[in-house]
Structure formats: C-alpha cells, structure tokens
Symmetry: C2
Amino acid sequence: MRLADAGDPVMGRLVSLWGPLEALERIRRGDMALGPGEVGGEAGGEEGEGGESWKRFADGLRRRLGAWRARLRGVDPKRDLAVGEACGARLIVPGDIEWPSQLGDLGDTQPLGLWLNGSVNLRFSCLRSIAVVGSRAATAYGIHMAATLGAELSGAGWTVISGGAYGVDGAAHRGALTGEAPTIVVLACGVDQCYPRGHDTLFAAVRGQGLLVSECPPEVFPTRARFLIRNRLIAALSRGTVVVEAALRSGALNTANHALALQRHVGAVPGPVTSDASAGCHQLLRQGKAICVTSGEDAIDLVGLIGGDLAPDRRGPVLPRDRLSEVSRRVLDAVPARGGAGPAAIAVSAGVDLTTALSTLGTLAAAGYVHHSPKGWRIVRRP
Amino acid sequence: MRLADAGDPVMGRLVSLWGPLEALERIRRGDMALGPGEVGGEAGGEEGEGGESWKRFADGLRRRLGAWRARLRGVDPKRDLAVGEACGARLIVPGDIEWPSQLGDLGDTQPLGLWLNGSVNLRFSCLRSIAVVGSRAATAYGIHMAATLGAELSGAGWTVISGGAYGVDGAAHRGALTGEAPTIVVLACGVDQCYPRGHDTLFAAVRGQGLLVSECPPEVFPTRARFLIRNRLIAALSRGTVVVEAALRSGALNTANHALALQRHVGAVPGPVTSDASAGCHQLLRQGKAICVTSGEDAIDLVGLIGGDLAPDRRGPVLPRDRLSEVSRRVLDAVPARGGAGPAAIAVSAGVDLTTALSTLGTLAAAGYVHHSPKGWRIVRRP
C-alpha cells in the first residue's frame, strides 16, 4: 500500500498472481522473472487478448519497479500500524471477515487493504447502502436534497456512502446522522487526517455512528488523483449511486460512470434547468444512464432492482419466511430476537459452517430480516 | 359537428362507414338499420373482437340517436358558416388539401371538421411542430421555461402547438411569437370565442402569425369535458409533446398520455424536486414515458427521432440533395428560390400530378428544404 499508487492495476495483478508476501519479496529482490507456468496461466493457449494484456502488465512492471524499490527504503509498516492504532483505526485486507466482497468487482484495481476508523462493521454496513454524491459547490437546493435523501435513507435503515467534501457529501452525512443507520465517509487521505479541516466535528460524529474509510495509509495527504481514484471505492462499496447536484464536469459524474462500469444502478436528482449545478444530472437522465430520483424511497427503489437476493417487493422487507431456502431458514431461526449473537455461535446453532453462516446472514440482512447490532446479529423486529 | 359531442367515436365510425351526407340523412330519418354487407364488412367472418366492437357501436348508436335527432332541430349550418366567416374563420374537413393527414391516427375520434382562424396553412405548419403544454398554475420557473422553449423552437423554424390557457400555454405562444414560425392555439371553444378573456391580445397576435384551431362550431363555450377531449388534438397535430410544468393530476399529463397512445414522443422538463408543479414531469421521467428536455434543441432532438423522412442528422436539415428520390429532386427543382409558387404550378413544372406534388412538398418541408410563405412554396435559403 505504500509502494504503489492507490488502485494501481499492475500492483493489483502482481498481488493476485503471487500473493502479497511473495510479491513484496520479489520487488525487494528486483526479481520479476515470470515462470512459463505463470505466463501460460494468464495468457492461456491463445495469443490473443490475453497475450496483449500480459504484455502491458509486464511493461508496466518494468516501468514501475525502480520507483517501487525506491519507496521501499522509506516504508515502515510497523509505524503505520502504530499510528493507525493510535488514532483508533484498524486495517483490513481481502479475506478478512469484514472485507466487503463486492470490491472484487474492481478486479485488478481492488484496494490492497482498507483503513477503517469507526464503530460499525464495514461489510455488513454496505449490504444495504447507497452512495449519495454531488458537487462541493452545491446550491441551497442541492444541500437540501442531499440532507433529505441522507435522512430518508438512514431512517429506512440504509447506509449512506459518500466522500468527505463540503457541499453534497457533507450534507448527505449530516442527514444520515439524523437517523440510526451507519454513514460511511470514503476519504482520499489517511483516516488520521481531517480534510477538509472544517469537517472535524462531522467526521467525529461519523466515527461514532459509522466509519471513515481509506485505502491510503495514515499521514497520507489528499491529491487530485487520489480523489478520482477514490471515487471507484464509493461506487463499488454501494449498491447504487445517486447524483444530487453536479455540473457538467463534476467529479460526481466520474463516480456515476464508475458505478455504471460496475453494473450498479445510477440515479440523478433533477433540478431547475436554469441551474448549471444540475446540468450533469440532466445529462445523465437524457443519456439514459440514470433514473430520475426525487426521494429516499425512489433511491431505494433504484437499488432494489439489483441482485436476486432482495425481496420481490422492492420497497421493503416483506418476503414471507416460507419463500426462504432451507439453509436460510435454519440460520434465521438461530439468530436471537433480543441481545445478539456472533456468527460462530449462529453457525453452530444452525448446523452450518462459518462461511455459510456469514454469507446467509448477509443475504438475510440485505432482505431486512436480521441486522448487525453492537451486540451481534439480531432479528429485525416488525411493527 | 353540432349533433355529436366532439370526438364521439360512435359518430366518427358512422361517418367513416356511410360518409357524412348519408350518415346525416339516416339520423334525420331515424334509420339505423345496418345491412348484412355492412355488418360483414366490419365484423368480418370471425365473431371475435370485431363482433364485440360492432355490438358496442350498435348499442352506442341506439343510445345516442334520440339526443342527436333532438339537436338536429336546432342546428343551422348556414348560420354557423356565416358566423365563422364574419369573424374570419374557415372550416376544413377530412380530404381538404389543408387537412392534416396525421389526424387519421385518431381513428374513430378524428374530428369531423376543424374551424381555423388565422394566417397560415394548418397542414404545412404542423409538419415541423412540437406541442408545449403544462399547468395553468405555473410557477415563474415554468413560465420562463415555456417562453424559452417557445422562442427557441420558433427561432429554429418549428411550429409551437398548445392550448390557450394562462400559465404554460400562454407563455409558450408568447415565446413562439418572438420568432417567425407559426404558433397554433387549439381551443376548447369556438374560434370566435376568447377564453380566457385576458388572452384577447395574445390570440389576435396568434391569428396574425399562426392559427386558432377548434373542432367546436362558433359560439360554443368551453367545458371541462371539451378541454380533455381537445387535448387529443394537440397531441395528434404535433410530432411530439413536451410537458413543461405539471402537477401530479394535471391536464398536461392527459395530453402526454394521448401523445404516447398515438406513438408520438414525449418530453418532460425537469424542475426542483421540492416543487409540486414539477412532480408530474418527474413522474413521466421516472416511468420512462418521457425523455428529459432542457432546451429547444433537446425538444427538436426528441421529435427528430420520428419518421423516416427527416434528415439523418437530427439537429437540422443537412440531408444532401443527392440522397433524395428522383421525384423529390424534380419537385425541389420546380420550387422557386424567390417569391413563391402554388402546388399546381409546381406539379406542372415538375411533371408530376397534384397529389404527388403536395405530398412531396410536405416531405421536403419536413426535411427543411422548402417552406410555405404567404406567396406560396419557396426554397429555404441556407446561410
């Protein structure tokens, strides 16, 4: 995470090919010789696209190796972990229980790890999550709509995901904090940094009810490139992205395009045609890239279209129990109605293995049957 | 036109079956016996849908005959024509050269005739026309957008079609009057009436640059039912309908639904989500019934999708001459560049019959090659 730039697909491929430890060892030794089995494994028997992509990868490796080795001398992972711990952050990597598996959709640009600072579980918080993004230079209308959407989503039990900027991002989080669902700030700097400074109180509140998330190690400052590469995480973590206010060349449109590339749904909040701040939203609508979203309910409708694991009625968790699979019913029966239980205890009680228990709990949470409280998994009570 | 309510499908079917003179004669005699050939011609050999529809028609006839015959005693067609003529209006019926053939899409609800009051040719004015509709209770934003669209469409040579109400209708016509294209008011009362009274100056200006159109005879007052049935004419005359501002139960949505039923495109102008006056537009967008329209150019794009006779570049008349058919080129060559010529003279000069000349002139006008000036047909000059 210190050697390559965030989201570097060459590093991503190297790590998925050799694993992080062997990749690091080879960078250290300067040994990038690719065995015949490795080339074969990637390029296959055909010398078509696979061969081309492999050649680009090998070229990229050659170009980057010097820079990576130069950075290697300055890194101090133990210090990074200590600094992170000192500010209350934790580091997760792919394969950890808290790792959101949907990040795998990013392929080679999947982050190598994520720093988290806050009080909720990232993976479970993202199961029912919607990104609310838009311009920093939002109008009063944009701020109002972002805060309203944030509050309506949180009130309906949906996690809000956004950046940490002034304008739409901040208003969406503030709205979400009026409800009880988590809200997630994805930063373009280390989770120990506060950028912009004026959001220190907001970020403190987010740590208490949600998470600050970053793929940058502690002490890393935000740059323009990091904001753009960060946007793919907002799109990938959430089930769909709603653009509240965006001018024609806004970064929020970049997030929307990431969401489209990742097969997630995109919504756009319309505004006055006379307002340049809504021109990007209208462009998305005209191009058929976005659905018109006028409320939190509309936004939930939007993402309710994704995934076969959602209840057929898009508006809420009304799937009757008897439509569940046998395994799902067993896991559901093992979840307590009061207090809470850990996945291991639930797995034992349901008679399934831990992996099955975790994935089934995720499905049940997405359908609104169970939720993850500070005390563990618990049944969602119906009115 | 005096006997049945406007748009009555039973009268429409009767007239298309027997022709207007025989239909009137039979109503006068009270003789509605249907010959076996007539039944067979409609219901066909199958006793399915055709038979059902025929039965409904016969039932409808039976129920209406008394009312029609009662009204027959009071009608005075000669007086209607005299009153119309006195206020400068003319009556056209299907088959007249000025009759817009697209009204045939209305089937049995096609009007039996249209009263016109104004200075342009209805058929040719509608070839490049867009309906701009919306609420009477428009906001300042809706008025601004309607006037802007009207001006942009008229400036680009497109005819605006709308009702004559306060709010969006009036603003669209006022905008159109700033350009040189015709603007058309479709009334729900006789063309000698001025409803609303406050629009007398506007209607006078429209008569000078466009047309007042109604299927109601002179001296007929507007009623709620007549407004709704009038909306189908706005939808049918134009190539597409753009809704500027409409609350959730606005009459403009009725016009939009007529346009959809007639396979015309529908556009909606977005507005602030916080404005109830735009809720109907957002509903059309969310339902996928309308395309998002933010300018006159967008509106022209919308209707440019219809019809194979438009230039491939949707934004303007740029079809090169050599893509035209041989007949079209001959007719085009016969149209003068200055002054103007009538269709008969053009037909002779091009060596085609009058019907071919008329339909080819219509196609050429729709593609932007020729236009109909007060002096007759003339080539559109390119900058």
